[in-house]
């Protein structure tokens, strides 16, 4: 599609083809980077300590930012897909209804200090919101969001990014990925034009020597993570085993609280509801969860997913079969939040490990 004449290829395209740009950032300048983002007029979202838990929130000062956790309690998905948002409002004027399109919702934002698993969730969800009908609420906010992520140097038992094709230092979804390669230096991989523009405007980054490499810095955590299950075996099993009694066994503990979907960086299902005042109202898009009975119940009372077994199976099927079938990507980045926060200790890793080992344990049942 692009012209064959080399002179018309813009410099930016050349950059894109030549892969990421490498720079370095002095570790003492990390806070200054947040400050620059704020000075440039962006809303900056970063991990902050809220009571005892680390969450992703909008910050007004770099001092609020806390970067030593593994992952935050909530993912940063709410920056692009707010928990609740107005999609239009309306007024009643002299008996007439006037619908007002909502078009002032895009405020540039920087997601700072998120983990590579969280950064990777955004391009995965792009596929859905850009599928056929364009959801401009996601798309435009997404375009106006810059993601500066930081590679993990540690993990916990719930982390499993390496099992779903990602890594503690993968660049998917990041505009800039920072990796602490020595005690006082971050290696910055600048993945997009947006990232390059930001890096240049901050004036905090230096040229990187050609010998710098992140792999030795993250080797230890990659080894600690290992592979918790064989992802290649999951979908072939799901394709054949919708009705397997395995589902009843693994979901028996599930109480349908829905926390797995709320903390998940890739769960995106939503509800549309009306809110009214005396002279107008609005249509509100809210997060919703497949774990609730009301999610699918028909007006007649009939429910196609009548029990927790079918609802829990839906969540796993959606992530590891339906989404790959329709949109070509696993709807999971291995952040481990659903494992960490489940009050009943339903463990996705254990379930997926079980699935990947069923064939070797029981033989294939076809």
């Amino acid at each position: 599609m692009s012209s064959n004449n080399p002179e018309t290829v813009s410099e930016r395209e050349v950059q894109k083809k030549s892969g990421p740009i490498f720079k370095v950032l002095d570790a003492r300048n990390l806070k200054a980077l947040v400050q620059k983002g704020l000075e440039l007029g962006c809303r900056v979202f970063a991990p902050v300590k809220d009571d005892k838990l680390v969450t992703f929130e909008q910050v007004s000062s770099p001092d609020q930012v806390l970067l030593d956790g593994i992952t935050t309690r909530m993912s940063p998905k709410s920056v692009v897909l707010p928990r609740t948002e107005k999609v239009f409002s309306y007024k009643i004027r002299k008996g007439e209804i006037v619908v007002e399109n909502k078009d002032d919702f895009v405020v540039p934002a920087i997601i700072f200090g998120c983990r590579p698993c969280d950064a990777a969730s955004f391009p995965i969800m792009d596929r859905l919101f850009r599928w056929d009908y364009q959801d401009k609420f996601w798309n435009k906010r997404r375009e106006a969001t810059l993601i500066v992520s930081i590679s993990c140097l540690d993990c916990d038992d719930a982390c499993f990014c390496t099992s779903v094709g990602l890594a503690p230092d993968s660049t998917e979804g990041s505009d800039v990925l920072l990796t602490l390669i020595s005690r006082d230096q971050y290696l910055a991989e600048i993945m997009t034009e947006k990232g390059a523009e930001f890096v240049e405007k901050t004036g905090l980054f230096d040229e990187a020597g050609a010998d710098l490499d992140k792999s030795s810095a993250t080797r230890a955590v990659r080894q600690k993570l290992g592979k918790k299950f064989d992802v290649e075996k999951i979908k072939p099993w799901l394709d054949e085993n919708y009705g397997n009694k395995f589902w009843g066994e693994v979901t028996r503990m599930c109480i349908g609280c829905g926390i797995c979907t709320y903390v998940c960086p890739t769960c995106h299902c939503f509800d549309l509801v009306d809110e009214a005042h005396y002279d107008g109202g609005a249509k509100i898009k809210n997060w919703d969860a497949c774990q609730f009975a009301a999610f699918t119940v028909h007006a007649s009372g009939h429910n196609p997913r009548p029990d927790q077994v079918s609802r829990h199976r839906q969540r796993i099927m959606h992530k590891y079969k339906y989404y790959p079938d329709n949109l070509g990507a696993i709807l999971c980045t291995g952040c481990g939040r659903c494992v960490r926060h489940c009050p009943m200790e339903v463990n996705l890793i254990r379930i997926l490990k079980g699935i990947s080992e069923i064939e070797t344990v029981c033989g294939t049942q076809r």
Binding site: N101, K136, T296
Partner: protein
């Protein structure tokens, strides 16, 4: 509105552009006519408030829309009129939840919101030149009725038209005046039935469940396509009868009705397996349905 923040990086979207590409924004429609079909079912004739919109609007028979009662909520209904009618659309609903109860209270001249048309439509080209058997149960006549009128408006393109419609009681039959209209035509065969105990002293139709009456009718499956809509339990017992009569699964068409919110394949609730009823459906053949898990 120029935001200072646009200096941070250049990909900032200016507000105000593309005001019309909001996929959740409804068009306003005026309720032109309301008919109370049964004690708890009404049908409505709707016209776009914007005349240009009405002129340019087109849909295919079998598609659905999202209907908003402002301040109350949005419901998914099949557009139960035919694509051959250009001056209005119709919808039909049972008063059962919050939105339909609010819609029930509305009057002619009131305004509701409409998004659509969404989903696929009946495979009309495939049905042309064939005998068509329409089977409907209860409140599921509307999604069949749109195709019945479509076929009647283009009558010469179809061979025999047979309609079997059943409801729990005589009072629950919807579109009664049209049932009479169809009965009066000599190019339509229509059988109406009510469940045992649902008949009135002057009831002249059949008494019995749809699958049993269908068995008695024994329509030929020769060069025929069957279109079946009804409650899951009716579908479950009607399908085997059709197969016994020799209908191929590819020649049995139905419309699924899972709960929806967006109608656009985003909100994530109407899927049956990997199939989204809103995008891939609502119209499926029995052979397609047979491949799906039972989540409908």
């Amino acid at each position: 509105m120029q935001n200072d923040a646009s200096t941070a990086y250049s990909n900032v979207i200016e507000s105000g552009e593309d005001a019309l590409d909001n996929i959740y924004l409804p068009h306003l429609m005026v309720i032109k006519e309301i008919v109370q079909e049964t004690p708890d079912v009404k049908s409505m004739k709707l016209v776009f408030q914007d005349e240009e919109m009405q002129k340019n609007f087109s849909f295919r028979t079998g598609q659905f829309g999202e209907f908003t009662v402002f301040g109350v909520g949005e419901s998914t209904f099949n557009i139960c009129s035919s694509q051959t009618w250009k001056d209005h659309i119709e919808c039909c609903f049972r008063k059962v939840g919050r939105v339909t109860s609010a819609l029930w209270q509305m009057n002619e001249g009131d305004i509701i919101g409409f998004r659509g048309p969404y989903g696929n439509w009946y495979p009309v080209e495939r049905m042309e030149g064939k005998n068509i058997l329409f089977i409907a149960g209860g409140i599921a006549l509307p999604p069949v009725r749109c195709m019945i009128w479509h076929a009647l408006d283009m009558r010469t393109k179809f061979k025999n038209i047979t309609i079997l419609y059943g409801a729990r009681t005589v009072a629950d039959l919807v579109f009664k005046r049209e049932l009479a209209q169809w009965a009066n035509r000599d190019d339509v065969t229509i059988v109406t039935t009510v469940d045992p105990g649902g008949e009135t002293p002057d009831w002249k139709g059949k008494v019995g469940l749809v699958p049993i009456v269908l068995k008695g009718m024994a329509p030929s499956s020769d060069n025929a396509i069957a279109l079946v809509c009804g409650p899951p339990i009716m579908i479950k017992f009607t399908l085997p009868v059709l197969l016994e009569l020799g209908f191929a699964k590819e020649d049995i068409i139905t419309s699924l009705e899972n709960r929806m919110k967006c109608g656009l394949g985003k909100c994530g609730r109407c899927n049956v397996g990997k199939v989204y009823v809103c995008k891939d459906g609502p119209i499926f053949t029995a052979s397609q349905v047979a491949l799906l898990p039972e989540e409908y």
